[in-house]
Subunit: 219 residues, 2 copies
């Protein structure tokens, strides 16, 4: 999707175009449900794909990391990146091997990452990143100090050139396969949070806050 409302040659979904989604609202919903992205960048012709957390504020994605990391060192030079977010919703078991699939929602954003220099935007972005993963945690933590802010780089990637791909629902088999003698259907998959585990050094009088006890990505 370009800002003109049409996919570009680079973001147009080639395979299974019926799964393509280009509207910004759907893309934002996917980005807001996930919090782990895979960032692609190229160094000397070799692509690297690194998992990292992200946050979204309006039409920008923010990622962060140590100022010393390979990813951040490379990316602040304004090289092209690809940020991909994938939510896996289930295994789709068709009658034929060939028609097996997965239910998923994924977004790719192509763009250039820019280092956030402005201290105010940097702090806002870090808060967005934190709240994106766990709402309520920022205010309940010791705030970053000058040294920590200096050691952290924040990058902004505008959500301008993007596309999403969504598959949902039951398997689609070839007509002649519906009589094949096997089970067919969907195994739903979901990220589930277990019971919070206290830090061994936690003050034993302190109880688990609500935002950690009832963690759930689904909105």
């Amino acid at each position: 999707m370009s800002e003109t409302g049409l996919p570009t040659a680079r973001t147009r979904v080639v395979r299974e175009p019926d799964r393509a989604v280009y509207d910004r609202e759907t893309v934002y919903r996917i980005l807001d449900e996930g919090f782990l992205c895979h960032v692609g960048f190229t160094v000397d012709g070799q692509p690297f794909v690194i998992p990292t957390s992200y946050g979204r504020k309006e039409a920008n994605l923010y990622i962060h990391g140590s100022a010393a990391s390979r990813m951040l060192r490379q990316m602040k030079e304004g090289v092209p990146v690809c940020i991909t977010v994938t939510l896996l919703d289930g295994l789709v078991l068709a009658r034929s091997v060939f028609n097996h699939s997965m239910n998923y929602r994924s977004v790719i954003v192509l763009g250039k990452a820019t280092l956030v220099d402005d201290p105010e935007e940097k702090l806002v972005a870090l808060r967005v990143l934190s709240e994106h993963i766990l709402r309520g945690r920022w205010d309940d933590s010791r705030q970053p100090n000058e040294r920590e802010l200096k050691a952290t780089s924040v990058l902004r990637v505008p959500i301008e050139e993007y596309s999403a791909k969504v598959r949902s629902g039951p398997p689609i088999d070839d007509a002649e396969d519906y009589s094949f003698p096997t089970w067919a259907g969907v195994i739903p998959l979901e990220i589930k949070a277990g019971s919070p585990i206290n830090d061994p050094q936690l003050d034993p009088n302190r109880s688990v806050p609500g935002y950690a006890r009832n963690y759930n990505r689904r909105s």
Copy 2:
């Protein structure tokens, strides 16, 4: 990791080197627990990162897709790729914003993808891919025919240059932060399967097979 048993300049973990893992057994365990990877490749200087399933057989990764897909079209020309697998194990809540982290296990494999031409290896690879995701399903499905095999491309990426990164355990706070008045600990995260959903067109006399009823990635 290179075949000589040492990380290369490209796979040496730069940040948090204490989290680096270079032994093949650990890498294989991570690869065998996951089944969704993110594949990075570069087209005209622009990196793309695409989610897809994979399988492993000995020291090779296999991915597959439609012969018509952008990813497969690009990759069979022998361009460098990066395959990244990330297993997310939990959110790590430290006292300070700065020391928040995630527990995860991730692997990156750098290499060149080669199109699998040999029909026998292709069929074996497709079976590996299927069994990697859901053991027992292949034999319980209608086998691929000639037309379907032709429409599917399989790529082999040797696991030669790789590294893994693992973080586990409680948060690590700065000494002076342990008295900060907040909860600290880990919220464990896991991919959980829900109850299988019958295909609406399923023969009502057919019951859910064991491999679908008790789906669990953990070994």
